[in-house]
Amino acid sequence: MGVELELQILNSHDYNLSRDAVDLLALLEKIGHPGAIKPEITESMIELNSSVHSNYEALLVELRQIRDTVVRAAAQLNLRIAGGGSHPFHDWSERRIYPTERFRHLLEVYGYLAKQFTVFGQHIHIGCPDGDAALYLTHILSRYVPHFIALSASSPFQQGTDTGFQSSRLNTVSAFPLSGSMPFLQKWDNFVAYFEKMRGFHIVESMKDFYWDVRPKPDYGTVEIRVLDTPLTVERAALLAAYAQTLAYYALVKRPLQVSEDMYLVYKYNRFQACRYGFDANYADVHARRQISLQRDILGTLELLSPYSARLNTRKALDVLHADASMRRGDAAWLREAHRKFGSLNDVARCQSEEWAGRHTLISAQA
């Protein structure tokens, strides 16, 4: 597995988004860093990539190293780095597109949506043995998309207001025409034919142009889960990766559930519920033909995974997530608590950056 994290670059006087990605990346290039660090669509974002790991603890060690390097380089430029799925109060119209050919092209195609796309997600890659398995995994993970949304939700604020959502970030993604979920195809050959057709229509050029919540990524031989908000800490990012890894392992080894088109009948409903209400969402379970609370479905799944987590050495991670889910603890609640406590969204952004840097001094809504 591997992890990509999109991060916010903040200035240090009012904690608004800054526009220093170019300078920050140049400095990081100069001083050297572990992992990979890349530009993102606007100049207020950067993306960290881990290497490939099979053990989540090793992943965490690497993520911490990358984080420390980036935080130190940012401090030299008087900038702060923050996690979280959205910046609480930036104005999208002030954003500037990162100066590369691809991003300029996206601005041309998508107009203001490109600038509004200044939201921050975590992507988790899971390696797959072959194409058919990747398609199975992509479909079966759609059943668990609400889990990842609820467990990572960290974008309650957008453009200066409390949205009432736990994750408002995904609403931004939904505006794109190629977002949503992959068509219901189960054989790799059929998938390749579909892709070629879309390329024939000049709708896409590469897999990158599909903004699906879960998508196969043939270049890496992985399935990529893209619905997660970037958590407030690398620790949580690693926990979520451990969950994805264990879940995928269970799904591929055990093949516990049939994939069916019915899964996509409830897909949008479940996804919306999770964004809006987090752990308190309703969850429509196609296979059991019933509705339960998302919290119960998550807890149930975590318990089900227990034998597999022992094999993958992810038991500790899943225990933490279990505790958080049973207490309904999460980053969105943490951010709202910060807002209540300090009274301004500038302070929320500041807390986000301090939390990211690993200085957990302010509040402890999170264990």
């Binding site: 200035n11 240090s12 006087h13 009012d14 800054s18 526009r19 220093d20 170019v22 300078d23 140049a26 400095l27 380089a73 401090a75 030299q76 430029l77 008087n78 002030e94 500037r96 300090f342 009274g343 301004s344 500038n346 302070d347 500041r350």
Partner: protein, 401 residues
Amino acid sequence: MANVEFLPQFPIPDNPFALFGILLLAGALAGELVRRVLNLPRITGYVLIGLTLGASGLNLLDTRMFDYMRVFFDIGLGLVLFELGRRLDLNWLRHDRWLAVLALAECLLSFGSMFTVLLWFGIEPLYATVAAAIGVSSSPAIVMLVARELKAEGQITERALNLVAINSVTAFVLTTMLLSWIHHEYHASWLIALLHPFYILVGSFYAGFLASVLVLMLARWLGKQVELHLTLLLAMIIFLVGAAEALKLSVLMTLLTFGVLVRNMDQDHALMSVDLGSFGQAFFIVLFVATGAMLRIDNLITGFGVAAGYIAARFVGKSIGVMCFAHLSGIRAGSGGLLSIALLPMSGVALAMTYSAGKFYPAFNEKLSAIVLAAALILELIGPLAVQFALRSAKEARTAT
């Protein structure tokens, strides 16, 4: 004859409010005209209209008006210095030591080169020293306002603002300490020569410190309410300008200290980062018109040679300081030059310093003005262009597209 005392008497007496309104309107219109016709920064327009109305032009703003104008000038300068102080981040200097080294080098080298050039022009050491000390400063008003007009944001802008703040503090401390020498030159007693700078430095610092403590206390009590924090800051800024004047302290140093401390002492982030810009804009315009009116073209004619040498020496000193250390201080390759260009302007603060350095000795003031004011005039006019050029070339200006 009927009693007509209810009617105004001729000549109609001067009125500070009418003057403020006229300066503001004239400045705003000239700024817009300069921007539309010549595509120059508005600030250049403010200064030009000031020159036109002032002693060098139509002489509508004669010396009688200067006392009124000083009030607006001081409030404008106070606002600018407070804003600038608030941008000075001492934490940054700790994280990026090379930036601190760069600031020090650039101050020392510019001082040294200006001093040498002035001596070479045959200026007496005392005047050369004071003028060189004043020249260490960079104009906070020009750099801040051009950055604001361009909505510039980024490493060059932030570094320029921090360096301007450091330059202003250094220049101020130097000129104040040099008061001892000036007093000594004019045979004042040793006690006065020592106490006067001490009183100004310590007094101004302490006033700024007290204001910061008080404002932070009140901000904590008020809670996070933008309007109230704005009012709180405005009240304290205007009060401090008045108090510093009444106590014969330095408006400059007091407000700068207030800005620096209110940010850097605010450990628990009690004060919101409110934007004084919309309120300040009126005062900023008048500040530049007034500066323009105070400058004199005849200074330029008599002192052009010296002024040119002084400016060149200043620019070379600052550039060498910046260029030597820019690449060590986490900045993009090649942007050191732009940073030096952004530090070129020198004006309002220099004027205020010249005025206060020579306040007690008119003869001294006259001689010093001859050296500094011509340079101030030139830099007041080309300074905004330089900053605009630097920030645009650094791609930090937010363009309309």
